[in-house]
Structure formats: C-alpha cells, structure tokens
Symmetry: C2
Subunit: 429 residues, 2 copies
Amino acid sequence: MPEYLPTAPYRGTRDFLPPEMSVRTQVFGHLYDVLERYGYQRYDGPVLESAEIYERKSGQEIADQQLYTLTDRGGRRLALRPEMTPSVARMIAGNAGSLQFPVRWYSHPNCHRYERPQRGRVREHWQINADIFGSDSANCEIEIFELVHDLMRGVGATDDMFVVRANDRNLLSSALTDLVGVTAEQLPQVFGLVDRWEKYDRETLATQAEEIGLPDKQFEKLGDVLGAGTALLDELPEQVKETSNLVKVLANEAAGLVRFDPMIVRGLAYYTSTVFEVFDTSPENNRALFGGGRYSDLAGMFTSQQIPGIGFGMGDVTLMDFLGTHGLTPQPRSEVDVVVIPVAEELAGAARQVATELRGAGMRTSTPLELRKLGKELGRADKAGAKVVVIVGQEDWAAGNVTVRSLATREQRVVALTEAAAAVAELLA
Amino acid sequence: MPEYLPTAPYRGTRDFLPPEMSVRTQVFGHLYDVLERYGYQRYDGPVLESAEIYERKSGQEIADQQLYTLTDRGGRRLALRPEMTPSVARMIAGNAGSLQFPVRWYSHPNCHRYERPQRGRVREHWQINADIFGSDSANCEIEIFELVHDLMRGVGATDDMFVVRANDRNLLSSALTDLVGVTAEQLPQVFGLVDRWEKYDRETLATQAEEIGLPDKQFEKLGDVLGAGTALLDELPEQVKETSNLVKVLANEAAGLVRFDPMIVRGLAYYTSTVFEVFDTSPENNRALFGGGRYSDLAGMFTSQQIPGIGFGMGDVTLMDFLGTHGLTPQPRSEVDVVVIPVAEELAGAARQVATELRGAGMRTSTPLELRKLGKELGRADKAGAKVVVIVGQEDWAAGNVTVRSLATREQRVVALTEAAAAVAELLA
C-alpha cells in the first residue's frame, strides 16, 4: 500500500481555492484601482534576492531569526524577500538616471518570514506596497494620508471604522530628550519601549524602563508625554516643529486625516521622521492594520545619491480580518454567467458553437464536459452560480433555434441562434 | 568610502519596472479575461512546498539539478516550486470531497528553476496554468484546444501565427511497437529520442538510436513514422484509435484546431495520452511557445482517488518573445490621464480638491508634489502621458473656477469647479 503525502500546505503558508481567491481578487482589484487613480504605477521584482541586502538593512530580528536563506549552486547566498523595501530601493537606485522624480510606485509581492504561526502571522504573506520616491515635501505626507483613506473606502470601509495615528520620530526624540531627560545613548532603547507601550501592562513597562536607566519619575513623565496627544506639540521647541512635515500636515486642511499620537514609532529601523499606523476602531479587532513612514535616504546601500521616500505596506492577513470584522468581505463571484447544455452527446459541438457566441458577447459561459440528464445539469448550473442556461435540443437546433431559460424564474423561450446572446443578456441584466 | 551593493537583480531573475509591468498587466489581463469567459476560476498556492513532492514526480532532471531547496529552522526540507502541477494536485486531492468535478481552474504563479541563463530561459518565470480536473471526456481536449486558440487571439494573434501540434502518447507507443518494432524496454528511451528529434541532426539521432538498440532499418522506419502526419493514423490498429481522445477530436468539427503530429511527446513524465505544443509559425521564432497534455492520475501521490486532468502551462518569456516577433506587444499605459497644477504652493490644497473630484469620476489624476514653474509642470505632465491638465490659479480659484487645457491642442478654457470633471472627460474622450 502506497504512503500518501500530506495535502496541507507548508505550515504558515496558504492555499487559495477559487472562492477565497475570488474574494481576494475583488478586494485587491479595488485597491489597484484606487492606486492607479492616484497615478501610482505598478512594478514587480524577484522573490529571490541577495541575502546581504536584508542583513544590512532590515534589522537584526529579521536577518537572524526570520529570514529564509539558501545558497545556490554557484555559491551565492540568497534570501526569499521578507519585505519589498530593499528590493525597490535596489531598483530605484539602479534606474535613478532614467526616472523622472518624484515617482509614485506600487507593488503586490508575496513576502516570506519564518514566524511562529499564530493569528495574523503567516510565513508567506501578500503585501500592497505604495511609495513616493524623490521628494521631501509635506505634500507627500498629505497625499499618502489621502491615499490611505481612499484605499480603505475602496474596500468599503467608512471613516469611523479606522483611524490613522501618526507621529514624527524627530518630534518624539525631542520630547524624550527635552521633556523626559532621556540621554542620546538611551534613545534607541526608549524607542523600543515606546513601541511596546500598548502591548504590555504598566508594571512590566516600568521594570523595562528601570533596566534602561529611567527611574520612576522619568517613567511617569514618559507616560504623560506619550498620552499627551496634540497637546504635546505646544511643549516642543519651534525649531523642531518647523522642519516637521507632520506638523505642516496638522496645520493644513488635511489635518482631519490623521491623529497625532506620540506613541507611534514603528519597529523597522529605516524610518527617519514621519511614521504612521492605521488602526481598526472596532473593539473586537483593536489593532494596527498596517503602517508606514518616511525614510530620508532610501537607497544608501546601493548608491551615493540620497533619495528620500515615504510609503507603506498593507498586508493581506490583517486587511482580510478587518473586512471580516466589519462585514465588508465581498461574496465570491459565481463560476459562470451561463451554461449551454446539449441534450445529447452529438449536440456537444452545437453547444460549443452557442458558447462561442455568448463568450464573444462577453458572457462567462461553460458547456458540460460529460453528458448527464438535463435535470442534473440544471442543478449543477445553479450550483455554479449561473443565472441562465441555454438548452440545445435536437429539433430546436435543426430549426436554427435554442431554448433560453432563467434559473431564477424558470421562465424560458425558444429563440433563433442569432438572437441567443441578446436574449441571455436580457435575463442577466 | 562605503562599498555599494550591486543594483542588478539576482542572475536569471527580473525586475519589472512600470513600463514593462504595464505591458505585462495588459497581456495577462487579456488572458485572465479569456479564461474567465470559459468559466475557469483562479486559485493560488504557496511558493514554498515540501521538496518531496518534486523529487517523487517532476522527473530527475528537475529534482537533481534545477530545484532550489532549503531546510527551515524546524528541519523541514522545502523547495521553491519549479512548476504548479504538484501544488495543484495537492490542493485538488485535499479538497476532492467538496469539489464538484469536473472543475476548471487557472493560476498565474512564479516558478523557480536553477537554469543556466540563456534566451528564453530564466530562473524565475511566471506561468499561466489552466486545467480541467475530473473528466476523461474528449470534450476536455476540444475545450482546451479552443481555449488555446482564444487565448492566442486574446493577445492579438491571428490563426496563421501559430499552430497547435498534438499527439497521443498511446498512439505513438502503438506506432513504435507495432510499426517500428521497438520493445517495451526500449520505449522510454525512444520517447526521449523522439523528444529530441527536431533539436539534433539526422546523424546524431542515428547514433543515439543505435545506442538504444535500433539499427539503421528501424531508425529509418522511425523517421517515416514521425514524419507521416495524419497518414500514420491509417496504419494504427482500430482498438488503439477507439480509446484515443485525440482521434475523436480529429474526427470532429474541432479537427481544424490542431495538427496531428507523431513527433510531439513532451518531456515531463506525467502525461499519459494527449500531448500538445503550440508553435510559432514565424521563421524568426520557430519554436514551441507552450504546451500541455493529459494525465490519467493527477494526484496519485496524495490520494487513492484517481483524478484525471488535462491542461497546460504558458510561460511569460516565450509569450512575450512571440508578441515581440509579431509586433503585438501593447504600448505601456500612460502614468495618468490628468495632472492638476496649482500655480502657487498655497493652492496645493485646492489642487488636491480638484484631483479628488476627477478621481471620483474615474480619471487617473495626480498633482505635483513639489512646486515648479508652470511651463516645467506642463512638460512633466506631457512626459507622464497626461492628455489634459487642470490649472488652478489664484484669481480663478477665488471665483470658483479652474482652467482646463488639452496638452495635444493647447486649447484651454476656464470652467466652474463643478464643471471641471465633465470638461476634462470631454477632452479625454
């Protein structure tokens, strides 16, 4: 007796069967559509990249623990991309001479990270990346925030379902230094602490603060700063605020798009000023959906040319959870619009001829591959989501006719072959 | 001085910058559209699979020399999928209980093979896979051949640009055994020889035939059989032809879709009867574009349930070469339809407001992120492929107006903001 291999996909990866794939195609289609209406152009790159670009840039956590690496037969050390930013930085640097900056680009790659599978964490995920490269202007921030709102609306969300929480790392640095008294050496660790602020209880955070060298009083002041919201801005020095794009946004008609929140820092190392996260406001799913930020020097490991950028990556898992939580998941599309059923095997060719007509008119049309009783085929057509069937009978066909039948009303009529497409279109409308 | 990393992608893989990506999106979009009009439903699966499924099934060449493998931190041996069939077999086997067979599925995965880079060979390629699972009927062959023709027409090909050469491995076996006198033991090697028939000169083939144990006379007879075309059918025993789906196709109204060709065998091991290849008829590019065939037992390594299938995989490299050869490559889409240009920084918000209106009407619209002189922005808009610009000037805006200008005719007029979308749409039409 043969031993069968397991049919489950590799742990942390997913099969997308047609119904789920249809949902995804619709959701991503809406997102592509919004991105293109903003003038973002799609690009793509390889799954395999030199391992070195992640070891240099993505931070040690990813490189040490989460990277899928391999060595090819030529001895080259490769990695499955864990994120798109180093790839796009490479592409932008390699083509900087022929690009008209600023450019707006988007992509939809699959990325691999070796994670312990749990809710919201998979080993292969799909991520929409959207970025502006080559501009420092606060207009970029405003556009990105507008885009985020329109993307969310594009998948059916209303503005009460999510909130964009934004910060500027330079503002936070100033607050930590000037108001809390954090030293330059302590800053990176305190950023890490801020990043964990909402994930741990107060006591744990206090212990961690003490380990960094922040005694009780400083820890309390830190809590005040992080909870201050917009009021914090009044306490910060003018010269820090003057150079902050986020402060410009907040002074603008676009201020309503974001909520200033000193607690947002984002884990990844390359953000240098603006950072933001989009949060689900539902109490059931109260967490970050996705986020992004600005980097002053995107492609520094590939070129001496300093290219700033701002953008975000929107993962599929949290997005689909969000849609589910809010009842926004679209229905899978039906398999077909119409099934053309021959009543006998010798009419299979006739049925194909009718199907060709209907496809020519843009209708999704199938014909049965195996001959079954008409009643059975009607049931299968219904199950496939068809709204109309066209029945090809012996005598009808000899007279140049077919029978067009609505599966919903069971209403049917005999029409000339030349009229079939119009008759079906009428029932589908 | 820092050392910069190379900006070229890993050898044999490709970056797709927006212009090329736009071409690809259009071409694949036409293919998806044709597939969906036939009722094929899209699915997807992981890049990483257990290495074992390829070692068991894809043939030794792929497993030994072409597979990218790695071991994860849990000790699991994985491979980057080199093709989609084992993945889809796994998915079909795992979900056989809930599927309504026959099913029509398609996918568009990227697949990895460690190949020596050369024309038409890359290490990461994208492949459209289309299959019918769960039917033995010759109606499947007919549908697949019709689909192939419509896919080619979908990307702009006319019927004279390509030919579908089809064979049935059982007919070939019978011809080799009954007419050439090949023994059962020699058959696999002779299949290999047939597969190489068009790649080598006669002398080399004769030497290889002799090594297999076919002396001159048999080798000559082999040449006659392979060159006989449809005439070969007359020489084959009735009981072999009776069970051949391809013979049924050739006796049918669908006969014109394919040319019977005893020389087609296809390298991959799992095809069991019908095999076919689509050839470019152009003398410049005279080679197989893609191919496929039928397997009597698709998912045998995953389940005891015997599930037949027929399908094909269409790779992106040969397809794009074909389009190039025949002048069918579409133009990249423009970046945007419209650019809304504010004449001063304080009008940037006004420009965004106009852009929002235009996007709402479905137009791809951008606004400049950095302030430049109007003339410069007009040049950039033209370069981005915009046909229309909307200029937001101080006095116009104060009066609730904007200027709509055609970049082609330079014709322009002042319209009320509420009329702007209609005025732009008119110029775009």
